[in-house]
Symmetry: C2
Subunit: 150 residues, 2 copies
DNA sequence: TATTGTTATACTCTATAACTATA
DNA sequence: TATAGTTATAGAGTATAACAATA
């Protein structure tokens, strides 16, 4: 079965992509004063507006205790603020500051530029083929994750 | 420029791949008693045989102090042992235990199986196209990382 | 009773700096 | 002097458990 070596070589490449992308994103976030753990929280706020910490903990798939720490850090660095919930006095609403919103807007632009850099050299046909392959890999991966655990 | 949206959608997919693959690998490692940080160290030992901590710190791109901690954890969980260096009494040689070697051998098999699961559904032609696309993305990414920093 | 977010505690990973034993 | 690996210290991120305030 001569395809077997090709497949492991492909997986090697995918893993290299994961590593390099992690480095690149890490650097970009650091430049903006964010970390890999805090960025998803801020992203969630940009996408859905002010959220309670409970909602954030559900969205990020982490514990409420952890969200407390992440929000603490983001408050200290000026990305978000804590405010009262209008109808539930137990809850706190986490909102983006102006600075946080600015950084996220810049990041969204950089994201588009980055996508163009990565894929701009491909023809439309090549890009379609690549995306289709990626889609089928993702399907298998989702199924694989569903099989074990959850 | 109608391709722009396709490109960001492709980057979205790549990032989802990164997340899902991270989850999957994390689970697999946990099943074997390893962590994401310790696995590369054990992998390095399997590839190149016993190494000094200095060599490991260079290979992993981390500090000597950090390697001390990682090796401590791997000794405690039975994956590696510390031994004297034959010619340099300052250095310690880190080696795989039988258990560590067994786990790594099993992991290498699982890696091949996983690659077959991920890419087995593609035709040879589709796989070639996907790998070529991945290669060009990696090239751009490497250049992007070289530009800023280092 | 149940939920929200906190404090208390602990563990992993990472880093810098000072130090010991060797080279 | 320089190198290998340690202790000391610090900070981020993650988790569980107990608890206070509120629902």
């Amino acid at each position: 079965m001569p395809g077997a070596r090709k497949r492991t070589a492909a997986l090697d490449q995918v893993l290299e992509l994961v590593v390099l992308l992690g480095e690149d994103m890490g650097r970009a976030l650091e430049r903006d004063g964010l970390t890999k753990s805090r960025a998803p929280l801020v992203w969630e706020l940009q996408q859905h507006g002010p959220r309670t910490q409970k909602a954030l903990s559900d969205a990020l798939g982490t514990t409420p205790r952890n969200v407390t720490g992440l929000v603490d850090g983001l408050v200290a660095t000026g990305f978000v603020t804590r405010g009262p919930h209008p109808s539930d006095r137990r809850a706190t609403l986490v909102s983006l500051t102006d600075h946080g919103a600015e950084v996220m807007a810049r990041m969204a632009e950089a994201y588009d530029d980055f996508a163009t850099q990565l894929f701009g050299g491909m023809t439309a046909r090549e890009l379609d083929g690549f995306v289709a392959g990626l889609g089928s890999v993702l399907d298998v991966l989702r199924q694989h994750l569903g099989d074990s655990g959850e």
